[in-house]
């Protein structure tokens, strides 16, 4: 698998309880498409009806929030670690 994706607790119903899964794709959008193929339903939890990242989801490629990069078009080279994390923490 090209990249590794860390799955938050509330999405592990889609990954049979796995906290980390592999996926393919050269961009974040392609990775999410691949996740959807293997873990049906997961993409709709991360993306809204317009296909954008949900307001309360943070996605990190490596150490960087993709909102500071190219969003869903952020490149995901082989070996990249992606993390999906609820955004409502902190303060």
């Amino acid at each position: 698998m090209a990249v590794s994706v860390r799955i938050p607790t509330i999405l592990r119903t889609y990954t049979a309880g796995e906290s980390e899964v592999g996926a393919d794709g050269t961009t974040l959008a392609e990775v999410l498409d691949d996740l959807e193929r293997h873990h049906g339903g997961i993409r709709a939890r991360v993306l809204d009806d317009e296909g954008g990242l949900r307001r309360f989801v943070n996605v990190y490629v490596g150490n960087d929030d993709v909102r500071f990069l190219d969003g869903l078009q952020t490149p995901t080279p082989d070996g990249t670690q992606i993390s999906i994390i609820p955004a409502v923490a902190g303060g």
Partner: protein, 431 residues
């Protein structure tokens, strides 16, 4: 307490995971409900909606509560325990007993700014000298009821102080995570209570991300502002309750509140609405204003640009306790400030320093950079005509200036250094 193994949050009435909850563990709270989509889950260590990732918030079935019952309670936040997600015997478990801080009439500052009537809600007098003692006390109660073994937080400093102290008093293991560049006094003020202060190479948002990942993996951890955040956040309501009670059971016309995650502002608004709902105060309009430092002003920027979405920023400000670049409750701050007729404003670091001095020299209150931000924003709101000077206004001072001495240590000092003689004094020009 189980966190890492709960793959989804149960809905109310479902068979919940066995947290060993006793009857009335969360007082009059009935469920956690998503603020975005309304989906409800059972009371437990859950903070994000399993449907849409939105923030979960505590819902209640309040009994009738009277002013007299509240007034007969202790002089701390537990006088409002019927309105918080805590058990009825909360006073019996060791905690820092925060709250019921002073509400000071600020006539000197009001005169200087041209305001008719101004009050300062001074939360620097809490046990660890910030408002964070309020929220941590509620989080501690949840952690104990959920049988957590570790009490933890990511923090910009004040929260770390409050968690470390409350954990020590409750006899629970604490682990607090801070950005490595945090002001030294805030580091010491945490490390004095715990051996497990962890400095992280990164900004607060990096620390917060780490905490979210740990909370998803480790069993038995109660991260106050992550997996027990719905309970924690409710503690800020007590600021609103106290302001109303100390004004003689009425709501102010305008409130200026600092914004980091935005949680405090939303909870003061929630408190005012609950007091009206319970018939404890008369319903009346009030305006809520948010205060940010320009170097970390994602909510103010969204407000000024007319956006509903808050675009995250990389913080660069001396107001480190407000330096949250990706504020979880930012969208709700926008909603509340706009709907109430208020605003969100920001000020430069120099204005923050001036704000600290202004509050100190007019009212004798030494605030930290967050309070300097709030005071400076108050001044700016007056100067720009956004705040009605004829109306009664309250500003919230959330923390103590001794924690951020570096911010102004090069701005104040001896007016003169003289020999110990009367002649030297009279010749110094000090008077």
């Amino acid at each position: 307490m189980s966190t890492a193994t709960d793959t989804s949050a149960p809905t109310p009435g479902d068979t919940a995971p066995d947290h060993g909850l006793r009857e009335g563990a969360f007082g009059n709270a009935t469920a956690l409900a998503c603020r975005e989509c309304g989906h409800q889950v059972a009371l437990g260590p859950y903070y994000a909606c399993p449907e849409c990732f939105g923030p979960l918030e505590v819902h209640y079935a309040f009994p009738a509560v009277t002013r007299e019952e509240i007034a007969a309670g202790p002089r701390n936040i537990w006088r409002y325990k019927a309105l918080l997600p805590v058990p009825d015997d909360i006073e019996q478990s060791p905690n820092t007993e925060p709250g019921f801080t002073r509400l000071l009439r600020a006539d000197n500052l009001a005169a200087q700014l041209g305001l008719t009537r101004l009050w300062v809600k001074d939360d620097s007098t809490n046990p660890t000298n910030s408002f964070k003692d309020r929220v941590v006390a509620c989080a501690l109660s949840a952690a104990i009821e959920l049988k957590a073994q570790v009490f933890a937080c990511p923090s910009t400093g004040n929260l770390a102080n409050a968690v470390a102290a409350a954990g020590a008093r409750a006899g629970i293991k604490t682990v607090v995570f801070i950005p490595a560049d945090l002001e030294k006094p805030k580091q010491v003020n945490s490390a004095v209570y715990t051996d497990r202060l962890v400095a992280v190479n990164g900004n607060y948002d990096d620390v917060n991300r780490l905490a979210s990942e740990i909370a998803g993996e480790e069993e038995g951890w109660a991260f106050v502002n992550v997996n027990v955040r719905p309970f924690y956040a409710e503690g800020s309501k007590t600021l609103g309750y106290e302001i109303a009670e100390q004004l003689g059971w009425r709501l102010p016309d305008q409130v200026v509140i600092p914004v980091a995650s935005g949680s405090q502002l939303t909870k003061v608004d929630k408190a005012f609405k609950e007091l009206v709902q319970l018939g404890l105060v008369e319903d009346k309009p009030y305006k809520i204003f948010g205060a940010q430092a320009t170097g970390c002003s994602p909510v103010s920027a969204a407000y000024k640009q007319g956006h509903d979405v808050v675009r995250p920023v990389k913080p660069d400000t001396i107001a480190k306790s407000l330096a949250i670049g990706n504020p979880a409750d930012g969208p709700y701050v926008l909603d509340i400030c706009r709907a109430s007729g208020g605003a969100v404003e920001d000020v430069s670091d120099d204005e923050v320093r001036e704000g600290i001095l202004l509050l100190a020299r007019t009212e004798g209150i030494f605030t930290e950079t967050a309070g300097g931000t709030t005071t400076a924003v108050l001044k700016k709101l007056v100067e720009t005509g956004q705040l009605d000077t004829s109306l009664e206004t309250v500003i919230i001072n959330t923390g103590m200036g001794l924690k951020t001495l570096d911010a102004i240590s090069d701005r104040v000092g001896p007016a003169a250094t003289i020999d110990p003689s009367y002649a030297a004094f009279t010749g110094s020009g000090v008077l």
